[in-house]
Amino acid sequence: MQGLTEILLLPLFGAVTIGAFKSLAPKRYAGIWASVLLVASFVLAVLADVHLAELAAGHRVISGTLFNWATGFGPKIAWNIYLDPLSGIWLLVITGVGALIHIYSNGYMHDDPDRGRFFGYLNFFIFSMLLLVLAGNLLVLLIGWGLVGLASYLLIGFWYQRPSAVQAAKKAFVMNTIGDVAILIGLALLYFRFHTVTYAGLFSTFAHATPNTAYFEWTAVLLFIGAMAKSAQFPLNGWLVDAMEGPTPVSALIHAATMVTAGVYLMARLYPLLRLAPDVAYAIAAIGAFTAIYAASSAFFQQDIKKVLAYSTLSQLGYMFLALGVGAYTAGVFHFMTHAFFKACLFLAAGSVIHALGGEQDLNQMGGLYKKMPWTTASFLAATLAISGIPPFAGFYSKEAILGQVFNSGHGLLWIVGVITAGMTSFYMFRLFLLTFFGAPRNKKLYDHAHEAPAVMTVPVVILGILAVIGGFFGSWLNGWLAPVFRMYPGASHAALEAGPVFGTVITVGLAVLAFFIAYWLYVLKRTAAKAGISTWPGKWMLAAYGVDTGWRNVAILPIQVVGTWFRDRIDQGILAAVVGVANGIWLWAEDLRPVQSGYVRRYGLSIMVGLGVILAYCLTRV
C-alpha cells in the first residue's frame, strides 16, 4: 500500500518505544527519537503523495485492507486504508506541521521532568490523527476520531497536578464523546440501509439515491454533530478554550492545526451525503458563520494570549464550515491548509513568548517584546497579517476564496457575516500583536529577563512564518490537486475555487485595514490597557463567551446530578429496603423451623448444599 502502513505505524512505534523505555534512556532522547520518526513519516507522506500524483487523474486512490474488524452480523467491516488527494493534503499537513512542532517541543519542554511522557503522547496523537484521515471507512475513521480525543485528553491534562488542567481535560473528553456517539449512530444508520460503511461503497450508492428524505437528513445531522464536537462549533465550543491548559505546542498541533480540523475533513469527505441533505448543508454554513462571528467577538476582551488564539481558531474553523456548507469544498480545504500554517506559527510564537516570560500568559504583563525577540515578532506579524486577510499573505487568498463563493452562491446574509468577521479578526489579532510586542513593557522585571528563544524553537516558527506568507500561492495547485476527488461522485459541482466580486475583496480588505488602524490607535497611540473594558457588561459577556459554559451546566450537568442524587438517596434506598423487607418476611416464616435455626450464617449455606445433594441423590435413585 505504498508505505501507508509504515506511515501509520511509525508514530505508533515511537509512542510504544517511548512508553516502554522512557525510564531507561536519558530524557532528551525521547524528544529526538519522536522528532526523527516524525520527519521520517513526513518523507514517507511526501513519497506517498508523489506516487498518488503519478496515477491517472480519475484513479488517484490508493487503498487496501489490513484485516477484518468485525464480522458476523452482516457484511464484514474491515480495517480499510484509503489515500486520495483529500486525505493526502491532511497527511502532509499532519506530518509536516507535526514534525516542526515536535522539533520545537524539544526546546519548549526542555526543563519538564516528564517530557518522555509528553513525546510519547505526541507521537500517539500523530498515529491517531493519521488513522483518522487514512481510514477507508467510517468505522475506522471513528476509531481514529476517538483516539485523537484520547490524545487530546492526555495532553490537555498533561500537567495533572493542576486542577484546572484536569477539569479542562475531562470537559474536552466528555464533549467530544457527544460527537463520537453521534457519528456512531450515524454510521449505524448508514450500515443498516447500505450494508457497508466504506466510502467507496456508500458514495457509489448515494449517486442513485433520492435527496431530501428524512433518513438522509438525520444521518447527515448526526455526522455533522460529530464534526461540530471535534471542531468546536457552537454550542459545542466550550472545551476548546479550556484546552489551552495544555502545553503550548499541544495547542498548536492539536487545538489549532490538525485535530480540530477533523470535522472539516469529515464534512469534505462526505460531500456526496451533503448533496442528499441540502438543508443540513445550509445549517452547516449558518452554524459556521455564526461560530465565526461569535468567537471573533468573544476574542475582543480576552486577557490571555492563548485564549485570544483559541477564539480565533474557533472563528477560522467557522469560516471553513461556512465554505463547506455552501459547497465551496476546495476553498474550505485551502483555508484549512493556510490556517494550519499561520495558526501553528501564532501558537508557537506565543509559546516562545510564554517561554521567554517564564510561563506568563497574561497580556497585561507583556509589551515591547519586539526588541528582545525579533524573529518571533517577525513571524508573529507575518501570521497576523495572514489571518487578518491582508494581501498577499496566505489567509487573504483562502478567505477571499470562501467569501467570494459564499457571495456567488447567493447567501447574502452569510456573506455579510463573513465580511464583518474578517474586520473583527483583524482588530483582535492586531490588538494581541500590539499588546504583546509593542508599546512600553508593562512588567519590567519579566521584560528584562526575556530573551529570544533558542534556535530549535525559532527555526520551526520562522519556517511556519514563511509558509504563512507564501501559503496563498498554493491555491491554484490545490485546485487542480483536489479536482479529481470532487469529480468522483455527484454533489460537488461548485467545489473548485471561484473568484468573487471585486467590490467584495475591496470591502473585506478595507475593513481589515481600518480595524488595524483602530487597534493601532487604541493600543499604541492611546496606550489602552489590555484589561480596559472588561468590567462593562459587553466586556463581561464577551469575556465569558456569552455564558455558553453556564448554559451547559444548567441544561445538562445539573439536571443529571439532581436526578442522580434523587436516585441515590430515594429510589435506591427504597430498593435496598425492599430486599431487607422480603428477607425479614422469609425470616418470620422460618421462625416455625426454630429447632433447626442456629443463627449461624454458614449453616444456612451448608444446608442448601446438603438439600441440593439430597434432591440430586433422590433423582438418581429414581432412575
Binding site: 476517538g146 483516539l147 456512531l184 443529571i560 441515590r568 450464617v601
Partner: protein, 479 residues
C-alpha cells in the same frame, strides 16, 4: 473428553488445594487455574467437543454440555478471570478460600456449558454456594449481611426458575408424551396464553436477579462493596454474565415468540436500568460503588442488545459480555489495589495519587477508558454492534444508549481523576509491584487484541446465534 478436563481440573483441583498446606495453597491454585487456561486453549484450537451422557433417563435429563459460539468465549473468560483473581488474591487468605474460588470456576464452567435445562439449573444453584461462603468468610464488616442478601435474593429467583423449569418440562411432556430437558428440543412448545407470561416471568426474574438488572440489584451494593477485590472481580466480571447469558441460552430458544411480543416493554425496562445505573455512578462517593453501578448500566446495555432481537444486537451483546468481564473485572482489581494502599474507599475531592504511583495511574486509566467505551477498545465494539442492532427498528433506544455512553465518559473520568489526579492531597502510596504488573499486562494486551480484532470473537460466535436470531424471525419476531 475435553469437557471432562474442563470441568474436572478445577473440581479436582479445588479438593487438591484443600488438601495442601495453607502456605502453598495459592501457588497450587495458580497452577491449577493455569492448567485450566491451557485446557481452554486446547478447546479453542481443537474440535469443539461436546459431552452428552444420559443422566436421569426416566425424565429425559442428560448431562449435556457444549461450547457453541455463545458459550465458548464465556468459558475462556471464566478461565482467564479465575486465574487473574487467584493471582491477585492474598496468600494468607488460606486454602479454604482457594478451594471455593476453584469450585466457583468449576460451577461457572458448567453453567456456561450446559445445554440441558435441568443441568443448567443445577449449575445455576451451584454457583451460589462458593460466592456465599467467600462473602461470609473473607469480606469486610458487613460481609455476612451481604452474603445473606445474595443468598436470599438469588434463591428467591431460583425458586421461580425451578417452577419455570418444571412447567416447561411438563408442557413438553403434554405436547409430546415424553420428557426432555434438552433446550434445543424445547423450542416449539405450545404454551397456553394464560400460562405464558408467568412462565416467561419466572425465568426473567431469576436472570434479572443474578445479573443484576434494575430494580433487582438490591444485593449488589453490599456484595460488591464487601467482597475481597478478587471476588468482586469474579462476581461482577464472570457471574453477572450468567444472568444475561440466561436470556440468550434459555429464553431466546424457548420463548422467542414471547420475547418478540414483549419486546417494547423489555426494552423500556432495561433502558431505565441503563440510565439509572449511569446516573447513580455519577453521584457515588465510594469508588467501588461507581464501578458497581457502572456495571449495572453495562449489563442493561447488554440486555438492550439481546432484546433488540437482531443479529447485530445479539452478537454485540455476546461480545460485550466477554469484553465487560475483562474490563470491569480488571477495574475492580485495580480499585482493590487502591483501597489496599489508602485504606478506604471514599474519594472525596482530590487525592492526586498519580504523582507517587504513575504505573498504577496508567493501568487505572487504561481500564477506565476500556470501561467507558473508548473507540479501539472492546467496549466500543460491543456497544457499536448493540447500537447497530437497535437502529434497525428501535432507534429511540439507540439514542438512549448513545446518551448513556456520554454519561459513562463523565463518571469514569470523574472516578479516575478524583483518585489519581490533581494536587497530591493524600500521603503518597506505593506503586504497583512487579507481581501486579505481571498479571495486568497480559490482561491489558488481551483487551487491546479483542478491541482491535473483534472479528476473532464475533466470527466464532455467529453460527449458533444466527440460528437463534433466524428462529426469532421465523416465529413472528422482527428482523
Amino acid at each position: 473428553m475435553l469437557w471432562i478436563f474442563l470441568l474436572g481440573i478445577p473440581l479436582v483441583g479445588a479438593f487438591v488445594t484443600l488438601a495442601v498446606s495453607n502456605g502453598v495453597a495459592k501457588v497450587t491454585a495458580e497452577v491449577i487455574a493455569g492448567i485450566e487456561v491451557l485446557a481452554f486453549i486446547a478447546f479453542l484450537v481443537g474440535p469443539r467437543a461436546t459431552l452428552d451422557l444420559s443422566w436421569i433417563p426416566a425424565w429425559g435429563i442428560r448431562f449435556h454440555l457444549t461450547a457453541d459460539g455463545l458459550a465458548l468465549f464465556l468459558l475462556g473468560l471464566t478461565a482467564v478471570m479465575s486465574l487473574v483473581a487467584i493471582f491477585a488474591s492474598k496468600a494468607d487468605y488460606g486454602r479454604t478460600y482457594f478451594f471455593w474460588v476453584l469450585f466457583l470456576e468449576f460451577a461457572s464452567m458448567g453453567l456456561f456449558g450446559a445445554v440441558d435445562l435441568f443441568l443448567f439449573y443445577v449449575f445455576w444453584e451451584l454457583v451460589l454456594i462458593p460466592v456465599f461462603f467467600l462473602l461470609t468468610g473473607w469480606s469486610g464488616a458487613r460481609g455476612r449481611l451481604a452474603a445473606l442478601k445474595w443468598l436470599i435474593m438469588n434463591l428467591f429467583g431460583s425458586l421461580f426458575m425451578l417452577i419455570g423449569v418444571v412447567a416447561v418440562a411438563v408442557i413438553y411432556q403434554q405436547n409430546t408424551g415424553h420428557f426432555s430437558f434438552e433446550i434445543a428440543s424445547l423450542t416449539h412448545l405450545a404454551i397456553s396464553p394464560a400460562a405464558q407470561p408467568w412462565i416467561f416471568g419466572s425465568f426473567a426474574l431469576a436472570f434479572a436477579i443474578k445479573a443484576p438488572l434494575w430494580p433487582f440489584h438490591g444485593w449488589m451494593p453490599d456484595a460488591y462493596g464487601e467482597a475481597p477485590p478478587p471476588i468482586t472481580s469474579l462476581v461482577a466480571g464472570v457471574l453477572s454474565k450468567a444472568g444475561v447469558f440466561g436470556f440468550l441460552r434459555v429464553m431466546l430458544p424457548i420463548f422467542a415468540p414471547e420475547l418478540a411480543r414483549y419486546q417494547t416493554g423489555l426494552l423500556i425496562w432495561v433502558a431505565v436500568g441503563l440510565v439509572y445505573g449511569a446516573f447513580m455512578a455519577v453521584r457515588q462517593r465510594d469508588m467501588k460503588m461507581v464501578t458497581a453501578y457502572a456495571s449495572l448500566s453495562h449489563l442493561s446495555m447488554i440486555a438492550l442488545g439481546i432484546f433488540s432481537l437482531t443479529a447485530a444486537g445479539i452478537v454485540g451483546a455476546t461480545f460485550l459480555m466477554v469484553a465487560h468481564g475483562l474490563m470491569v473485572g480488571g477495574l475492580f482489581l485495580i480499585l482493590g489495589v487502591v483501597e489496599e494502599r489508602i485504606g478506604h474507599r471514599e474519594f472525596n475531592g482530590v487525592m492526586g495519587l498519580n504523582q507517587g504511583a504513575p504505573r498504577l495511574a496508567t493501568y487505572f486509566l487504561f481500564f477506565a477508558l476500556a470501561a467507558l467505551g473508548l473507540p479501539g477498545l472492546p467496549g466500543f465494539a460491543g456497544e457499536y454492534m448493540i447500537i447497530q442492532g437497535l437502529v434497525a427498528h428501535e432507534v429511540v433506544f439507540a439514542g438512549i444508549a448513545g446518551f448513556v455512553l456520554v454519561v459513562a465518559a463523565w463518571y469514569m473520568l470523574r472516578l479516575f481523576q478524583g483518585i489519581m489526579q490533581g494536587r497530591p492531597n493524600a500521603p503518597a502510596v506505593a506503586d504497583l509491584s512487579r507481581g501486579q504488573v505481571a498479571w495486568l499486562v497480559p490482561m491489558a494486551l488481551l483487551i487491546v487484541v479483542i478491541g482491535v480484532w473483534p472479528a476473532g470473537i464475533t466470527s466464532q460466535a455467529v453460527p449458533s446465534l444466527f440460528h437463534a436470531v433466524h428462529f426469532v424471525a421465523d416465529r413472528g419476531g422482527k428482523n
